[in-house]
Amino acid sequence: MKILIAEDETMTIKMLSMKLKKDGYEVIQAEDGRMAMEYLEKEGCPDMVITDIMMPFFSGLEVVEKIRKELMSKIPIIVLSAMGQEESVSSAFALGADDYITKPFNPNELSLRVKRLMNV
């Protein structure tokens, strides 16, 4: 199963990729909003998207909006937010995100949430 991770912090993206690969998922990395959008346009929706809210070029909210409104996809979306971004999280939910996780986060917790949303 393919998971797209859109996150601009290299360390976080590496951590997430390592954890999810270990869990048996195929991971696609996008280091900013533009790369995520380009992937979605070219390849279509993967099986799940994990996106940071604050990213260069396009925000996580725009990524969620594209998936739900433009691509009309119902794939699970998890939003990564920093402390104090509660309003953005509510906006993400309003746009159709399924879950959120606050940084700093526990990779095991994220792994469990991914499994739950993927119905594994």
Binding site: M11, K14, M18, F105, N106, P107, E109
Partner: protein, 371 residues
Amino acid sequence: MLLLSLIGSDLQTKLIIFSVIFCCAVCAIFFISYFFSLLVQRRENEIQRIRNERESLLVTLLFDDNSEEFNDDILGGFEEFKPISKGNSLSKKKRKMLRELMIDEMLTIKKNLTGAGVEDLYKLYDKLNLYHDSYRKLTSNHFQLMVMGIRELSEMNFIAYYRSVYRCTNHPQEDVRMEAQVAIVRLFGVKGLKFLSRVTYTISEWQQMTLLHLLNNMKNVKPQGIDQWLDSKNDSVVVFSLRLAEKYNCFELLEKIQHFLHHPNDTIKIQSVLCMRNIYDESTESQLLAYYLVVNKPVRIAILDVLQSLATEQSTEFLYKQLADDDMEIRLNILRVLHKLFDNVDIINSITLEPEKEDSIILMLDHIKNE
């Protein structure tokens, strides 16, 4: 030679020679700058390459199944983690720089990680003896390095050098002092507040907020010693202790807090009033009303702030009388209290003031309603 030849030559020759010299100088400057920028670029690329390498190393070590014992085979490939010996090919400077980068990466990863991964990070910091590097910074003479050393030790939860960190909680240099205070609280939680007994320098408002924020994210255990800290000769410690008393609902300190209403320092007065939002008894409301008449504007505003949560109908008559105050800010705050007790219409009907003041009060009530 060139200059000598210029002395006897005509103007045209002089101009040509000057132009040649000028062009040579410009070219030289250009090449030198280009050469240096190349060097800087090369160094930056090299650092970035090392950074990426260390990031990957850290992620592998932390998320590897055998992470509990950290894979020595992986670590063995990195010279800077081997003990210094004759066979070690790294220069002292490069070794130091590489270890610095590793600590930097660890601090970055810590920002985004919680749970077992953080514990592994602490273990790795210990295993690689990186605390030696942090301690070296802590004992340096440069305050910036000291701050970095303290931060690294506390972020990596390394307790062994806590005495050295604790000593810095009353350091004459403000940045060092602030970092050490935060570090001690980070390491020991409310027990770390022990430094309040010895600190002689002012704890700034910013620092007080930082410490309170840190405590918010910790277990809600009441600190021991607030009572003694309230007796401190350092006024900023008294203010901070009042904040702690309010945060941890220290009802047993009510009497002591009430005494501070008569303290000569206004900040302490205000803080003791604000403390009564959480710590009060049945006499507090009347006590504050009586006190209101003998204090200055900032303390009055603090009293009105507290009355927003404490006031009962007992205060009504007093508050309506105070609405005649010429100060608009005071009137606005009085109305905020009244708004908590009554409807706007009831307030307007009960006011007997000059028409001008009444108009402003109607406007203020509208404003409060939309707050």
